[in-house]
């Protein structure tokens, strides 16, 4: 990719929608939105428990325009490994699209506990 054209990016829909319950001015949604601007392919997000998970999925509303899964606090890495493994097999069978990317999202807690514990191996996306 030669460079990022901001004007073109304004036409792309972010995986994170409006209507989430983060505090006004919080940097987290901005950070996630900007990070996900790097991905053009469809993306599946696995979140760790935390501010972000709780604010973007207040039942019955979800601020995720893409498939999202939250399991528990320390295992976003392991969860996304499972999803990526399933993708490997199911795309081989032709049941799902080939070009799906995966990301695990966590805050301080979700990421701090990750290297200490349930990182899980991340299958190549």
């Amino acid at each position: 990719m030669a460079g990022i054209n901001l004007k073109e990016l304004t036409n792309r829909q972010s995986p994170l929608t409006e209507g989430h319950r983060m505090c006004p001015g919080c940097g987290a949604p901005t950070a996630v939105r900007q990070g996900l601007m790097a991905v053009e392919d469809p993306v599946v997000i696995v979140g760790a428990t935390g501010c972000f998970e709780v604010s973007t999925t207040v039942y019955p509303y979800s601020a995720w325009r893409v498939p999202y899964m939250h399991i528990a606090f320390e295992n976003a890495g392991a969860g996304v490994s499972g999803v990526a493994a399933a993708h490997k097999v199911l795309s081989r069978k032709g049941a799902v699209k080939d070009n799906i990317k995966f990301a695990a999202v966590g805050g301080d807690g979700g990421c701090l506990r990750r290297p200490q514990g349930a990182a899980g191996p991340t299958a190549p996306p």
């Binding site: 073109e8 409006e18 209507g19 973007t56 207040v58 979800s62």
Partner: protein, 114 residues
């Protein structure tokens, strides 16, 4: 889709439908409102990039053409990052007579648990 009325209507597996948060009027949180001066705006897109609520509206060609009052929480980040001072914050109370289409209230709790 809005709130399920009984356990039989709940979608399976703890599912919430994608992008359903777009029904939620987070604009109700505002106490300050950003006002855009279109004459000063140079469409540098800094406000669009930094808005936590994706509330800076663009016109399809990369030009800023407004701020979404349904979602804007009035945080003032756009005012702070604007290099030419095209955005200024005003008390929301000044606009209390405005009529607007309402959405789901993010603070409202269902009757059955009050």
């Amino acid at each position: 889709m809005s709130k399920p009325k009984c356990w039989q209507d709940v979608p399976p597996g703890t599912i919430a439908w994608g992008a359903s948060a777009r029904d939620v009027e987070t604009g109700l949180w505002r106490s300050m409102r950003p006002i855009l001066d279109r004459n000063k705006c140079i469409s540098c897109l800094k406000c669009w990039l930094q808005c936590p609520d994706a509330s800076i509206e663009t016109d399809g060609e990369g030009k800023v053409n407004g701020i979404n009052m349904f979602f804007c929480k009035g945080c003032g980040v756009c005012d702070k990052v604007c290099p030419v001072g095209a955005i200024s914050m005003h008390p929301e109370a000044d606009f209390s007579s405005e009529c607007r289409k309402r959405g789901e209230d993010p603070g409202r709790v269902a009757d059955h648990v009050r």
